[in-house]
């Protein structure tokens, strides 16, 4: 729970023709994280074509499912095999044909919709032209000196097209608009007609189809328009039937395609990081938990009956940066994990702060927001919304419980300090003691973070930093000595002369370490060492004082309640209770949120930043994915 599980690097070598089944077996096994690398003797990449075919097929299937609807839940038989490359390419080619047919169908439907819109626009045009009583036959005469075009274009292109057409002696006049399409007429000398062809294409100009009837006279076009409407509706009906036919024809096989692509996914996914091979052999490389090695051997034996060779080794010091971290948490701790993950993933071998985070965060929240009533409300609300909030609701329940425990210690119920006897003391009655205790907690917290950091550095093989750096044991000695000196000076403890020597010794070791690890000119080394020492001192001092906010917020909680009561006492009986209830709601909502964030901030900045790099890689096992899950 405090460290990532020990992993082994495995390389599974087998016939390349069985690579897809091996990847499927590893995905079903559920604890294999593919990794790059592998034997340098294997120089080829035999799964690249497989992955490419799978990606294409998957993209086509996704588009088909989006157009034709999903075919329902997917079930994969436990003995189903993954398709070979040839099968996958055949499936990909079939999906391409189906998608082309489906897309043609949809595009034809879209074109019919456009035709419908154009007919409607033409009808509007007709109404306008009827009013003008224009003879379009004369206007659009092919042997006239004036060339006239009727059409539509995107409204945003209108101004510039008008300006450009002027350069070719043409004019553009708008007569209607529908959505972002403008309907316009363009007129210009027929001799320069071809000059604007490219320009009109560039501007997205769409020529309106003009029937002979419309050219004769607007009134004569009525019959034509009705016929055209009927024709479009007939075509549209046929198109709908065609689409339904496609769904009926391809639906069952699409479902089968989904199955086969789900079975092919593991090798395609493994190939993303690299499946190597040579000749007729392929090798899958990755990480497996040590405790599952026997189970892995059994699964591979059952599937391949000895037709594969499994190579195992523990990660070496050079591998550490690339090893993923696999953590296992008890159910009660799992809700806190996302809060740690939002900072980062621990490196392999590094201390995992999830457990101490959960304990310290609850302690800090309870100490800053100690109230039996408020805690109970938070716990009940979180439990009430458990279904909607999911696992994170249990963080709320635990925070509420912590608040109730500290409420008992402080003797506070909904801000009232007289309803129950405090088991310990009310913060407002001894604020100095609260502040001292908060700083003391901070000192203990920072000591723990320095110890953890030294341990992390040692685990990473950086013994020098673990022993002599400001974040290591030397820094810890400096810090403890400095705390002793400050405590003596403040009168909080009896003067201990050794404390100053301890601090000076720690300081000297850190300074020498900085000096020896800085590779620069003399002046620059001096400057770097001085600044680093100063920064270390200021950092430790300010981080310690930062914990005073724990006491400050516990006092603030009582003070806010007092303010609410003072306000309520100035009102009548009904007003009093309304003010008390509303005031408590504000305290729970506003102050509760602030305290939760402050506790998190203390954990992140005063805690994690000292020892937790958060740049590890999470263990992501190869899995069989069905129904679009990831």
């Amino acid at each position: 729970m405090l460290r990532a599980e020990p992993l082994y690097r495995i390389q599974l070598v087998l016939l390349a023709s069985e690579a897809q089944d091996a990847a499927l077996a590893l995905a079903r096994f559920g604890a294999f994280n593919p990794a790059s690398g592998g034997s340098e003797a294997l120089t080829q990449a035999p799964a690249v074509a497989y992955r490419e075919a799978w990606l294409e097929a998957e993209a086509r299937l996704a588009k088909l499912l989006a157009q034709c609807g999903d075919a329902g839940a997917l079930a994969l038989p436990s003995d189903a095999e993954a398709p070979s490359l040839a099968d996958l390419e055949e499936l990909n080619a079939w999906l391409k044909d189906v998608w082309t047919a489906c897309r043609d169908c949809h595009e034809a439907t879209a074109r019919l919709d456009e035709a419908r819109a154009r007919l409607a626009a033409l009808e509007d045009t007709l109404v306008r032209l009827e009013r003008l009583d224009v003879d379009l036959g004369r206007l659009l005469r092919p042997d006239s000196l004036l060339a006239v075009r009727l059409g539509s274009l995107p409204a945003e292109n209108m101004r510039r097209l008008n300006e450009a057409l002027a350069l070719s002696g043409h004019v553009l006049s708008r007569f209607d608009q529908s959505g972002d399409q403008v309907y316009a007429v363009i007129a210009g000398p027929r001799a320069r007609h071809d000059e604007v062809r490219g320009l009109l294409a560039q501007a997205g100009w769409h020529e309106l189809e003009l029937p002979e009837e419309l050219r004769t006279h607007p009134r004569a076009a009525r019959d034509w328009l009705e016929r055209a409407h009927r024709r479009v509706e007939t075509q549209s009906g046929a198109q709908c039937e065609a689409l339904d036919g496609l769904r009926g024809r391809f639906g069952p096989r699409l479902h089968e395609a989904r199955q086969r692509l789900a079975l092919a996914r593991p090798l395609a996914e493994a190939a993303r990081v690299g499946v190597r091979g040579q000749g007729g052999l392929a090798a899958l490389t990755g990480w497996v938990p040590k405790r599952r090695l026997a189970a892995l051997r059994a699964a591979l034996d059952a599937r391949f009956h000895g037709r594969c060779w499994l190579e195992l080794r523990e990660p070496g010091p050079r591998d550490l940066a690339a090893v993923p971290s696999l953590m296992r948490y008890p159910a009660w701790l799992a809700p806190f994990v996302p809060l740690v993950r939002s900072y980062g993933v621990p490196r392999y071998g590094e201390f995992d702060p999830a457990l101490p985070f959960a304990i310290a965060w609850l302690l800090l929240f309870g100490a800053m927001f100690g109230d039996v009533g408020h805690g109970a409300v938070i716990a009940l609300v979180a439990a009430g919304f458990a279904r909607r909030l999911g696992r994170i609701a249990w963080v709320g329940v635990a925070a509420g419980a912590a608040s109730m425990v500290f409420g008992m210690l402080y003797g506070s119920v909904f801000g009232y300090e007289t309803l129950i006897e405090p088991l310990w003391l009310s913060p407002l009655h001894d604020p100095i003691r609260m502040l001292t205790l908060a700083v003391g907690f901070g000192v203990g917290f920072i000591v723990c973070t320095l110890l953890v950091n030294a341990w992390n550095k040692a685990a990473a093989g950086r013994a020098g930093e673990a022993l002599f750096d400001s974040g290591g044991l030397a820094g810890l000695v400096l810090y403890l000595g400095a705390v002793g000196v400050v405590a003596s000076l403040a009168g909080a403890a009896d003067p201990v002369p050794q404390a100053a020597w301890l601090a000076a010794g720690g300081l000297a070791v850190v300074a020498v370490f900085k000096w020896t690890t800085t590779h620069a000119t003399l002046g620059e080394r001096l400057l770097v060492t001085a600044i680093e020492i100063l920064e270390t001192g200021i950092g430790l001092f300010s981080n310690t004082l930062s914990f005073m906010r724990v006491a400050a917020f516990s006092l603030n909680h009582v003070a806010l309640a007092l303010a609410v009561f003072t306000l309520a006492d100035g009102l009548g009986a009904a007003g009093h209770w309304i003010a008390v209830v509303l005031g408590n709601i504000v305290i729970i909502g506003l102050e509760g949120a602030i305290v939760a964030i402050q506790a998190m901030r203390l954990m992140y900045y005063e805690g994690f930043s000292r020892f937790f790099n958060g740049d590890g890689t999470a263990f992501v096992p190869l899995r069989v994915v069905v129904n679009g899950e990831r």
């Binding site: 995107p154 945003e156 510039r160 300006e163 560039q202 997205g204 100009w205």
Partner: protein
Amino acid sequence: MTPASGDAYLNTRVSLFAERLWPDAELDALVGAGADAITHRLAQKGLALLAPTPEQGGGSLEHRIVAQMLEETRVLIRPLAGGARDFLAFWTARFEMSNVKTLLRSKMSGERAAAALARLAPMGAFGRLDSETLAHAEDAGELLRRLEAGPYAAVVRHARRAFEQSRDPFVLDAALDQGYYEGLVARAQFLETRLGAPLRGLMAALVDRINLVWLLRYRFNYDLPPAQVYYLLIGSRYDLPVTRLRELAQLDSLPAVLDALPAPWRAQLVGARDIPDVFARMEQAGAGQALRVLRGHAPPLARAFAYLILRERDLRALRGVLRGRRLGLAAADIRVAMQRAPETLH
């Protein structure tokens, strides 16, 4: 960061980065330098990433140059927010638009998705497109429709409509270039009112140069009619406004266009032989303008933009040197290649 500390950060960063720019003489000296000396000089200028190694190919050099530009932009953009951040981020979007063009060409040529993906410049944190999904579009039309549903909708919308009407790759390319630069101009417009002449000067040098070079290429290399040439240019409010561009587009020879330019431009372009020569002179003038902004007391964002313009110019020249040496070209040919090539997004 507060605005004051953000400005201080950016000013300091730009000043530090400015030390890494290459004077012309130093670039020229690289042509004849030994491999070790080049590696050393590149490391000194913060370009260790570009140091030539035996196994690196030309394509990967392009990618490393893009990675370098993105990394430096990432550092500069750190204290910025709102419109200023959006402007510099959009300046890097040229590389992503170049990726879009690669994908479109691969769709038109029927190339497999994996091959196209391998040629895309890695955009890192600046990447806004799901390249893998786009690469698996069935054809250019589907790819454009997908792009239109993404963050570059404003750039792509017009290009998609134009392409659907014409099916002409040139129309598509030109519309994408135009859409991108109009997006940049729109983003700069808001900042110019706040930051004043320095940023406006940089944008004017950039947009006017692009408009003039495009006008000359479309008109005299591709022989397009004036109306179409005018339509393909960037809507500009700078030294070559739309009225002037309309006039220029109607002229029928390179000398006639150069004669009709504003007086300061004519002086710079006296004796220009061809379009690459025009481009090189205009770019030289633009670099001078950027250098003045960088070394003056301009607002930090304008200085950062000036630095990025100059840095990219240096990197283009360095690419010429490194690639020329790799191909074993003569020093004289490499020096010719170092002359700036005409500018597009690709």
